[in-house]
């Protein structure tokens, strides 16, 4: 299992990813969901290739599950994995997502994508959902985002219904999850198409960024808030995305980095940044952050990209939102001749 950030790191990140209201403009998701993404979709999951060979055994991070027939009543955990249902045009019956909370009983829209979730699933709260409510939905599959490495929760869920668990915390980790989900629902063809589309777009973006990598190969990636600053390395999904584009990540604190790949640091530590550029992720562009004057004094390009509230770290949509934000910031700093 992938280890988590230190106890302060994830709450901090979670806090930040939720902080603001409407301070960034909506961006069209890079992978367009199919046209059937509509609030009127209420039917349970259906299969693309229902005649696929069932029973089928699916491997996940905590074991294997054999499905005699395609799963139809699925409960999904986390924004990262909700993206998989949008990508597969699959309708969950219930959603447990702690970064975004709907005003009603159903979770119909993933706010940072402004995308309708097929099937108008029931909202089941966040990290500690009501197990009775989950059981009441009579799921035949639970897709669990195992980011907290919570064996007790997994065991509880597994007693209610077959539960597939994936960490999904690493870049591309969602690919394992979407393949498992697709196998369990008979949609493997569509999953492979989503993955192929992702890979094609990523290759294009890497080619686009290659000249920037030549100009400024080393980058420090920061997360900035009003009163704090944190740094990523390649072990965290966001840092790994930057590495995916071809950049080398450096941090001002060297070996003191938390194994999770994110460390909240003293603003004073910014003085020790030694890289070609600094990429700052922040939620808003108007309020001054405590780190702004220090960063401005470093004498190196400071690139900024806005984070959408409530967005996960990985997933076929979220990753491209980050990646395209990075690319836009580099293009603005280093315009083509």
């Amino acid at each position: 299992m992938k280890s988590l950030p230190n106890p302060l790191a994830l709450p901090l990140l979670a806090c930040l990813f939720l902080l603001l209201t409407a301070c960034v403009s909506p961006v069209t998701p890079p992978v367009t969901p199919s046209a059937s993404s509509s609030t009127t979709v209420a039917a349970p999951a259906t299969t693309d290739n229902a005649a696929a060979a069932f029973p089928i055994t699916v491997t996940h991070d905590r074991g294997e599950i054999t499905f005699e027939k395609p799963a139809e009543r699925i409960i999904v955990f986390s924004e990262e994995f909700i993206e998989l249902f949008i990508a597969l045009d699959l309708a969950p019956v219930g959603v447990a997502a702690w970064r975004n909370e709907p005003t009603g009983e159903t979770f119909t829209v993933l706010p940072y994508l402004e995308q309708v979730i097929p099937g108008a699933p029931i909202y089941l709260a966040g990290n500690e959902p009501n197990l009775e409510a989950i059981a009441a939905l009579q799921p035949d599959l639970i897709l669990h985002h195992d980011y907290a490495d919570d064996t007790d929760l997994y065991d509880s869920l597994a007693q209610i219904a077959p539960t597939m668990a994936y960490s999904g915390a690493t870049v591309g980790g969602w690919k394992r999850a979407i393949r498992g989900l697709a196998q369990a629902t008979g949609r493997s063809d569509r999953a492979e198409a989503v993955i192929a589309d992702y890979d094609t777009r990523l290759a294009a973006l890497q080619a686009d960024m290659a000249p920037m990598v030549e100009i400024a190969p080393e980058v420090t990636v920061l997360l900035s808030g009003i009163d704090f600053i944190g740094v990523f390395d390649e072990r965290f999904a966001i840092g790994s995305l930057m590495q995916t584009l071809g950049f080398t990540l450096t941090t001002p604190i060297g070996d003191a980095m938390d194994p999770s790949g994110y460390t909240a640091i003293s603003v004073e530590a910014l003085r020790d940044i030694d890289s070609d550029t600094v990429m700052v992720l922040r939620f808003d562009s108007e309020q001054e952050h405590i780190s702004d004057p220090i960063l401005a004094s470093l004498g190196m390009p400071i690139l900024r990209t806005a984070i959408r509230p409530g967005m996960g770290y990985t997933g076929p949509y979220a990753e491209f939102i980050y990646l395209e934000g990075f690319a836009a910031a580099f293009h603005e700093q280093f315009p083509a001749p």
């Binding site: 709450p11 901090l12 979670a14 806090c15 939720l18 902080l19 603001l20 209201t21 702690w98 970064r99 975004n100 909370e101 709260a125 966040g126 990290n127 009003i226 009163d227 704090f228 001002p252 604190i253 003191a256 460390t263 909240a264 640091i265 003293s266 603003v267 004073e268 530590a269 910014l270 003085r271 020790d272 939620f283 309020q287 405590i290 004057p293 220090i294 004094s297 470093l298």
Partner: protein
């Protein structure tokens, strides 16, 4: 035995107050206590210099000096001193002084050695104010946190005072304590309920709830400073009256004191001090409890001395705690509220054990 005598001196009723030894009487003579205040000022200056000189970045004394007296806005080191360390030291000094004085007043007013501003529900009210604002209004700035924290603290303190004033005898220490405990429990339940039901709110306020002076700039401090300074002035002006009322309300009345006014003004000072502090820095515990006791060991039971000493030592204590919070995990930082709890917790246990033995 100085410790024993000083400990007995903590008993704030006139009837049980021990007769100080000759050495203690000399130690607590006016000239000595006045000189002690100067020492306190010196300690505060050392604390502030430490706060400005030490941090995650190693900056030479020469650069520290230059940052203050020959500021170069293009120098990162100078910016660290000017924009980070100086405001932080100022916030810690004012908040530490305010919390300690508020705690001293509460202990004198309620004649409860475990008293601190929390008895009036200040921290609980502030926390509910911030949690409620985040939950209902989705606020996300420190200045708005401060506004709602201050409002929550003030309303809660007024409610406690109102409840504690019901019935015969007006706001007695016992009734205030019970009203504060009851309202604290009620409001804590509301806060906990919101935080459990709404994960987003919990994640947003988790760090504010820990208490910190990091990232607070002079603009924020200047917004709140009038309340804190006003509270300090009011508190210092009430020193003699609080000394008298700490002897017991009947005695105070017998001496001609208008106890209702004294209690009301003291409560106002506590609200200004503790409400302003929690608005700037979040709920920072143990200073209001620990510092007045430490001061009483030094200066006895006269609040004309307890209050200024508490201000100076409280300010120094919070600054040193913040310096430690910066250096212990360098280049990371601990919230200073965690550090004061680490230091104050053992003292609290000692205090309870000492009271039990006594």
């Amino acid at each position: 035995m100085q410790l024993s005598a000083a400990a007995k001196g903590n008993t704030v009723t006139a009837t049980t107050a021990p007769k100080p030894s000759m050495a203690l009487r000399i130690a607590r003579s006016r000239p000595i206590l006045s000189a002690g205040l100067l020492v306190g000022v010196g300690l505060l200056l050392i604390a502030m210099l430490s706060s400005i000189a030490f941090g995650a970045a190693d900056i030479s004394p020469g650069d520290v000096w230059a940052a203050i007296f020959a500021f170069d806005p293009t120098s990162t080191d100078h910016l660290i001193i000017r924009t980070l360390r100086v405001p932080r030291a100022a916030v810690a000094a004012l908040v530490g002084a305010s919390l300690a004085v508020a705690g001293a007043i509460m202990q004198g007013l309620t004649r409860n050695p475990l008293g601190d501003p929390g008895i009036l529900g200040i921290n609980t009210g502030a926390a509910l104010g911030v949690v409620g604002a985040v939950f209902f209004l989705q606020i996300s700035s420190l200045s708005l946190y401060a506004l709602f924290a201050f409002a929550g603290a003030t309303l809660t303190a007024l409610a406690v005072y109102g409840l504690g004033s019901l019935g015969r005898g007006g706001p007695t220490p016992l009734k205030l304590t019970i009203a504060g405990a009851a309202l604290t429990a009620l409001l804590s339940s509301f806060t906990t309920g919101v935080l459990i039901l709404n994960q987003r709110t919990l994640e947003e306020v988790r760090f504010w709830l820990a208490g910190s002076v990091a990232g607070r700039d002079l603009t924020l401090l200047l917004q709140i400073a009038p309340y804190l300074v006003g509270g300090l002035v009011l508190a210092l002006a009430l020193g003699q009256q609080i000394t008298t009322i700490a002897l017991g309300e009947d005695i105070a009345k017998g001496l001609g004191q208008r106890t209702g006014w004294v209690k009301g003004l003291s409560a106002l000072a506590v609200v200004l001090l503790a409400g302003g502090s929690v608005a700037v820095a979040g709920p920072i515990g143990f200073i209001g409890l620990v510092i007045p006791h430490a001061v009483r060991f030094l200066v006895g039971v006269d609040y004309r001395w307890i209050l200024p000493y508490s201000a100076l030592i409280g300010a120094s204590f919070l600054i040193f705690s913040d310096v430690a919070a910066r250096l212990i995990l360098r280049p990371m930082e601990l919230p200073v509220g965690v550090m004061t709890a680490l230091i104050g917790g053992p003292f609290f246990i000692y205090l309870v054990r000492w009271r039990v033995k006594k």
